[in-house]
Structure formats: C-alpha cells, structure tokens
Amino acid sequence: MKSTSEVWQGTLAMMVLKTLNVLGPQHGYGIAKRIEQTSGDLLSINQGTLYPVLLKLEQEGSLTSKWGISENNRRARFYSITKAGQKALAAEEREWERTNLIIARFCALRGEEQ
C-alpha cells in the first residue's frame, strides 16, 4: 500500500509530464501556474512541493533541465520532457484511465445496491 504522499507525488508527476508534453519546455513557476489553472486550487498553497517531484523525474530520465532566461528576463531552470518521459506519461495515462473506470464501476455498483 502506497502512502498518501507517494500517491500525491505520483499524481503530481503525471500532471507535470502532461503539462510539459502539451506546453513544451517550461520553468518550475510556469508548470506550477499551469497545474493551478487546470486543477483549481490543488497547488495554490504548496508550489514548492513541485520541486522534489521535478528532481525525481529528472533522475528517472523523464525530464531534462537547463538554465535559461524567462520571458520576464529572469534566470530560471527550464524543464523539458524526454522520449522516456513521453512513454512514461502514456503508460501513466492508460493506468489512470483504467483505475478511473474501475472506480467508476464500483461507485455504480454501490448505487445499485442501495
């Protein structure tokens, strides 16, 4: 059984990969903004928690990063998704779909019983 933080990290990791896959290279702040926009307030308090996830993904080889200049002329580290990352993302998405489906079925089952 995974602990909640691990589940959270996993979810966040998928969000990061998805974001980068759609938007192309982004700095941490940009990724955080995007996730906030799509997920509502999920990240609004703890933007910092993004960074250990980014690092883990980079260590796994799903991301690469390099320093660059942001649109506002600030030095920032830009992350971009790698081939391995895209593969991992695809696998992860399939997994989520499957899980969603199962959960949905269970919820429906419950409804019938009641």
């Binding site: 702040y29 609004s44 308090i45 933007q47 690092l55 260590q59």
Partner: protein, 873 residues
C-alpha cells in the same frame, strides 16, 4: 538502467552537495521572484506581493529537506553522520582505539604481506615479462634439455610463437680493460629469448640469429645492474670489449632496469651449438622457454609436446626413450610442486592470525558496548531504531578496521621487504603492488571489521532497555554475553594452538635438518670451488699434476689438517652413469640401470672424517696407468651384494655408448649425505680423480683453526702454484648447509613469527576477559574478602574464569592439529606432522603464557579493598 542512472545522479549530489544547494536556492528564489512579479502586476504592494509569493511556495525549509532527501542518498547521509559520531567516540576512548588499531594493523599487515609474496611467487613471476604467455619446457621437473631435441620441438610444435633454449653458467671470469678480473653469472641463450619475454635492450641492439652461428664474433648483452655497478652507466659502453673466460667479447646491449630473465644472472651471451652441444643424449641445457601462440591454452601445448616427444622416442629410441618433454608454467617450473602447499599453509597461518585478531577485537568491542549499554538503552528509549543502533556500532568497528588496514599496509610493506632480503634465491620476482593487492587490502579490512563488529552489534540490538535502565547500566552483563565472550576466547586459544603446533613441527624439522647425522664431520670443514684457466691447461695430466702439487702445497699451510678434492659438494648431484656388474647378464645399450658416480681425490674420506667400512680409500698410488679402481658406498653393497664382501668385485661404467674398463672395488665407504642433504643417501660409487681428471674441482680442507681465518692462506697457496686459477664460491660446510636450507629457514621463521603473534594475541585476549570480569565483580570480590576469603580463594575464583576457555581451547586446538598438520607433511623432514613432543610443548607454552597474562588481574583482585569496593556501589 533507470535505477542506475538515478543512483549515479544521487551519488553525484551526495558527494558534491554544495553545488546542488546553491542551485536549488537559486531556482527557488527565481520561482518566488516570478510569483512576486506577477503579484505586483496584479496590483499588490511589493511587500505584500513578496509575502504572498512566499506563502504560496509553501514551507521552504521543509521543501528543501525533501528536495535534499530526494537528491542525495539518505542512507549515505546517515552513514556519514554515523562515521563522524564514531570518530568522535574513538577519539574520546584513545586507549581502546590505539589497542584495536595496533592489533588490526598487525593482523591485516601480515595478511597483505603474505598475499603480496604469494602473488609474486605464484602468479606475477618475473618483472617486465609476459608471464602468462611463457611456459618452460624440459625433459624433467626443473631441468635438462638437449640441443637436437630443442631444434625438433621448435620446428614441429605449432602451439608456440617461438622457443628459446637457455643455459646458465655460473662463476664466469670477466676481465675488462682495467685488467681487473671478477666472476659473474652468465646465461647462454638463443638469440630470440628477449623477444619471447617481450623486452628490448634500452641501449644497443638485441641478439640476432647470426650471433649464434659457429664462428660468429662473440657478443654479450649486460644486465642493468651490472652496467650500473661495474661500468657506472657508461653511455659509450656499446662496442667495448670484455674478456669473458679468456674470449674477447663485444658488448652490444644493456637490458632495462629490473629486467632479469630467466634467473638472476649478470649478462647474456648467445648459445652457440658446437658439435659437443649437438649431441642428442647430452641433456645438459637448462630448459626451453616457449611463448604460447595467441589463444593457445597450455593444455593444448602440453598435448602437442607430448605427441612430439613420443614421435622422437620412436625415431631415436636409444636417446629419447622415457624422455617426454614436460611443459610447465612459471610457478610449476620455478617454485615447484610444493609451492601450493607452502604458500597455502602460509596463507592459512595468517588467516588464523586474522581470526584471532577478530575474536580478540570482538571481545574488546563487546566490553566497550557493555560499558556503553546505558547510553545505548537511552538512545533506544528515545526512539532510535535497533537496526540504527547496531549499524552505528558496526560502522564504528569498520572504521577502526579501515584505520588498522591503512597502518597494516605499512606493516605489509616492511614484511615484504624482510622477505625479499631473506629470500636470497636466484629468482628475480615482481613484488610491485598492483590493483589486486589494493582490492585485497580493502576487502580484508572491511571483512575484518564486519566479522568482529557483528557480534557486539547484534547483542546491542537485543538490549533490554527496561532492565538496563533499572539496573544502573549493566544490561549487557547477562550470562549470555559472558558466554559469548568466553566462547571467543576459547576459539582464540584453539586457533593459537593450531598455529603453534604447525610452526612447532616446522621448526623441529628444520632443527633436525641442521643437526641430522650426515655421516661426516662438517665442523671445521672449508670448501672452495677451483677452475683451472683453459688456455694453459688442456689435458688430463695437466689437471692432475696441478691438483697433485696443490694437495702437497696445502699440507704445508699451517692449520691445515687434511685436504682433498672432489667434483661435487655434499647435497649436490652428479650425472648418472649406466653400469654393469661383473657376472650379471648383459643388457643392451641405453637400457641399463644408472648409478650416481662421484669423482674424488686421495684422502677424501679422511678429510671428511667419514669412516671406510672395508678396504681402503684412494691413495696416491692409484695412478692413471694403474689398475682401474672404484669405491662403493654401504647402500650399494646392501643392494647388490648383501651379506657378501664387496672387495675385489668388478663392475664397469658406460659413458655414452662407450664401455669403460672393468673396475675393481677396493673399498666400501660409509653412507654419507652425498646427493641430498635431507634423505637417506642413494647407492652410489666413487671414482678416483687420478683416473678421471677434470679442470674444475671442489677443494675440501679440514682445519685445525677457525676455518674462516684459513681462507687467505689457502688462496695464497693456491695462487702460488697457478696465479690465473679462478677461485669461486668459498664457504665453510655449515655455511653451505645454511644456503641449502635458506628457503626452508625463511618459511619456518615466518611460521614462527605468525605463531608468536597468535600466542601473544590469545594471551592478551584471555587477559582482557579475566581483567574485565575482575572489574565487573570487584563488589563481589570485596564482599568475599570482607567476610574472610583468603588470597587463595580469590586467586582460585579469578583463575576459574580463565581455566575453562584455556582447557577447552587447548584440547580442541590439539585435536584440530591432528587434522591440519598432516597437510604440512611434504615440507617436513625426520619429524611426524603430529609429533607428540611438539604438541605437548606448544600446549605447555600456551598455558604458561596465558597464565602469565592472567596474573595481572589476579593480583588486582587480591588487592581489592573491601571498603572501597563496597562504597563504590
């Protein structure tokens, strides 16, 4: 793969965390700035914008911690913390640290030293030579090849890139342009020997095939050390000439520093196959060096050489019957079949030393953990995991071990140097340190730390916190811990006994070697090797006339009691000759049995003080023209004419296919150690020098004064008769024996040193346990004294602690010796591997030494002041 990448990345961060930290800080700061910028754009004041950005980023420190954990290796991090903590503790308890490190350094040091020696002797071989590809081929184990055989092998064998034949030549007289003569060792070689070994001269040129043709201008290549010492590294040496044994020889090259092949010679000359060398039955070349072709295994080469040998035996049955070539590796050829036994035993010995070290330290660390049990209990109570506590203790042990290993390195260096000096053999070996040694050192250090740390660490993990904290810091003093420590000491004692017993029989065997009855009196006997100059003496009667005059001249030297010549020293062999006893059926040529035939001058047995059993020994009246005579030894008589008189029996000897004259036995000599110093002598015969003259001889002189003082007078007398005669090895008989036993001596000394270390460590181990128990029980002892226990009672009480481990250890050790010692059998002479006297002796030595070690704590116990002891509570 992914995991590996991550691990490497993490390791990188763990090692260079500094850079990672600044980058992380910069990235976070940039994030917050961007949020601030946006907040300002949204209309906040700069202060509020910054605060809001920080809040939205979250608890920065906690994020940083998480980030760091993700980035580095948390395990590595804690290990680093543990190491630092351990170092602090070790510095605090300096007595323990110094003791432990010293013991470890000795244990690991001797191990690495033996590893390096073994590595050199068994695997590394010669320096600067491609040892893996070279094999040594001969018709026997250690020597003997004939030139025609070598030529056939070289032309027929396909498994080899090349073959070269080598032949040593000791005591060659060399005169350079200064006119000063000196004797050196030479090696006669085929011209491509250096190519096969994989080396080139650093100066001048290599030998060429044209150098080994008959009539080619004589050339030589020098060893670096000769060039350095004799010619002061003269860069213009190439082209200069030397007179080698009277032949003017041009120096054409100098080999690289440290290169010497295939033994310890000073220079090389081409081996020119003269008509004499080209005889197939003259197997007096040393060996053939073969370089295996690319990808050929030694088994393949062996099989091929064997089939070639069989073919040659069919073609030349007279000379090559039973003469199959033997292909050997470096260690098989140069170190001998016994090498594995000797060096294996040596390794076993240092392994035992290391085990004793481990047991010793295990006890020390256990005692230390005991003293710290309260601290450990508190840490566990405060929430430290038991695994964490064990790991901390284990890391401490490993740390001590690694420090010991580093110091052990220097001890090993010292050990190897001592071995190199004492091993004055003709081998020139590669003792340089390679990566294998370093890996071995590291592995041994870590394994040792693990081994002695594991028991205390596991015990600490089982610590009962409640009892410990209640009991006032004595949680580990359970009966169980005491049993563990007793068991460790028992093991130490047993191992020490095994090692002592092994060393004991080796030393006894060596002592027997020195004192063995060799059938003659070796005290006050001096020997010298003499060689007549070949340009002045060429015929048998010249040799004879010189040695006759010499014997007369020597009688006149004051202090000389008797003098004689012979063609061999005791312990050295001579060629075997075929023989035929008169009256026995005739046997075809080359199929007769052979016998060792020594050539000796008049009064040989008189000079050696060996009795003549029957008849007489050779005298001046046995002349070349007289009746051909022979002397046989007692073993010969026992074998062929048992119960009969040998006198006036007849036999004849064969040289090549030439039958000698019928010889009349005129005497029977007692059995003296002639061809070997360690075994019973073989049946052998003696021929008179007058009927078999040679230009070289060993001179034997029995002296009335200390033999060393006689040497200059003898030299004078010898040179007075012939100034150009060259005098080689000069030694007293005991000196000669020492040279012969050098290797056994070295090995026995090494075992003795290891055994002494083991004895010391086991005694210290016992001392430590008893001493510790006295400290622990000082209360009890105090009470006993207070209620009237006598000194004797106290002594008995304390010694009891030592008695059981000692008694059990010695018994088990002796039992193990019965199993282990027979492995040494091949190394032992005149002594049984389980010699009862030795086993008893070592048991007594160990018990005495251990009792001595216990005496200190016993005295301390007797001096316990009951008042102090009880107040202490």
């Amino acid at each position: 793969m992914k995991r590996l990448v991550r691990l490497i990345d993490r390791l990188r961060f763990a090692l260079f965390r500094h850079r990672g930290d600044t980058e992380m800080a910069e990235e976070f700061e940039s994030h917050i700035r961007m949020q601030t910028d946006e907040n300002i754009r949204a209309g906040m004041t700069p202060d509020a914008a910054r605060r809001n950005a920080a809040i939205r980023f979250g608890a920065a420190e906690s994020v940083k911690d998480k980030y760091r954990d993700q980035r580095g290796l948390p395990l590595l991090e804690t290990i680093r913390r543990d190491c630092r903590f351990a170092l602090r503790l070790l510095r605090k308890d300096l007595t323990f640290t110094v003791a432990a490190v010293t013991i470890l350094a000795i244990g690991i040091g001797v191990n690495v030293a033996v590893f390096r020696v073994t590595n050199a002797v068994l695997f590394n071989g010669f320096r600067f030579v491609d040892n893996e590809r070279l094999v040594y081929i001969a018709n026997g184990y250690g020597c003997c090849v004939s030139w025609p055989d070598f030529e056939d092998w070289r032309s027929e064998a396909k498994s080899f890139e090349g073959m070269a034949v080598v032949q040593g030549q000791g005591g060659v007289s060399v005169v350079d342009k200064s006119g000063f003569a000196e004797r050196y060792d030479a090696m006669r070689v085929s011209s491509d020997v250096f190519k096969l070994a994989g080396q080139k001269p650093i100066l001048g040129r290599d030998f060429l095939p044209s150098d080994e043709l008959t009539g080619a201008a004589p050339v030589t290549i020098l060893r670096y050390s000769l060039w350095e010492q004799r010619f002061a590294k003269d860069p213009t040496i190439i082209g200069q000439t030397l007179s080698i044994n009277g032949t003017s020889t041009t120096i054409i090259g100098v080999m690289p520093q440290g290169f010497s092949f295939p033994q310890n010679q000073d220079f090389w000359v081409p081996l020119v196959p003269t008509a004499e060398v080209r005889q197939r039955d003259r197997r007096n070349l040393w060996c053939v060096v073969g370089r295996l072709a690319e990808g050929v295994q030694i088994q393949t080469a062996r099989a091929e050489m064997e089939s070639i040998g069989r073919r040659l035996a069919q073609t030349y049955p007279a000379t090559n019957r039973n003469q199959l070539p033997i292909v050997q590796t470096f260690s098989e050829f140069f170190v001998g079949a016994n090498a594995a036994v000797i060096y294996g035993a040596m390794w076993g010995a240092v392994g035992i030393v290391l085990l004793i070290v481990c047991a010793n330290l295990s006890n020390l660390v256990l005692a230390r953990a005991l003293g710290r049990s309260r601290e450990i209990a508190v840490r566990i109570a405060l929430g430290a995991g038991r695994w964490r506590v064990s790991r901390q203790l284990l890391i401490e042990s490993m740390l001590v071990s690694v420090i010991g290993g580093v110091l052990g390195w220097w001890i090993a260096e010292l050990g190897v140097r001592i071995y190199q000096v004492s091993d004055r053999s003709w081998r020139v070996l590669d003792y340089t340190i390679d990566y294998r040694t370093l890996i071995y050192l590291l592995a041994v250090s870590l394994a040792t730390g693990m081994l002695f740390g594991i028991v205390p660490a596991l015990r600490a993990a089982k610590l009962d916190v409640n009892i410990t904290l209640k009991d006032g810091g004595r949680g580990l003093t359970s009966a169980r811990a005491k049993r563990v420590s007793s068991l460790l000491v028992t093991t130490e004692v047993a191992l020490a006994v095994v090692l002592l017993a092994g060393a004991g029989v080796m030393v006894r065997s060596l002592a027997k070697l020195y004192t063995a009855d060799r059938g003659f009196n070796s005290a006050d006997l001096l020997t010298m090797n003499l060689a007549l100059p070949p340009n002045k003496y060429s015929a048998g009667r010249d040799y004879l006339s010189y040695f006759d005059r010499l014997q007369m001249g020597l009688q006149a030297v004051p202090g000389v009691e008797a003098a004689a010549i012979a063609n061999s020293l005791p312990g050295l062999g001579v060629p075997r000759l075929e023989y035929e006893l008169a009256g026995s059926p005739a046997v075809a040529d080359k199929q007769r049995d052979t016998v060792l035939a020594y050539t000796i001058g008049p009064s040989y047995f008189h000079t050696l003080a060996a009795p003549i059993v029957a008849g007489r020994e050779f005298s001046d009246s046995d002349r070349a023209a007289g009746l051909p005579v022979i002397i046989v030894n007692q073993r010969f008589v026992d074998k062929f004419w048992p119960g009969d008189s040998a006198l006036d029996k007849h036999l004849r000897l064969f040289k090549g296919n030439q039958s000698g004259p019928w010889l009349t036995v005129i005497g029977v000599a007692s059995n003296i150690a002639q061809n070997a110093l360690t075994n019973e002598p073989d049946p052998l015969v003696y021929l008179p020098y007058s009927q078999n003259p040679l230009p070289t001889a060993w001179l034997f002189v029995r002296s009335r004064v200390p033999p060393e003082t006689l040497t200059p007078l003898l030299r004078q007398a010898i040179h007075k008769l012939e100034p150009e005669l060259s005098i080689g090895t000069t030694a007293t008989m005991p000196q000669w024996f020492r040279t012969r036993f050098q290797e056994k001596n070295t090995i026995a000394s090494m075992f003795l040193i290891f055994a002494a270390i083991a004895l010391l460590l086991a005694s210290i181990g016992l001392y430590a346990v008893v001493s510790h128990s006295v400290t622990q029980r000082s209360n009890e002892i105090g009470i006993r004294i207070a209620i009237g226990a006598s000194n004797r009672d106290i002594r008995a009480l304390v010694l009891q602690q030592a008695l059981v481990p000692l008694a059990v250890g010695v018994t088990v050790g002796v039992m193990f010796s019965f199993v282990v010692n027979p492995l040494l059998k091949s190394e032992l002479v005149h002594v049984s591997p389980t010699d009862p006297l030795t086993l008893m002796g070592v048991s007594v030595i160990l018990i005495l030494s251990a009792t001595l070690g216990c005496w200190i704590p016993v005295r301390r116990a007797m001096r316990v002041d009951p008042v102090v002891a009880l107040r202490h509570e």
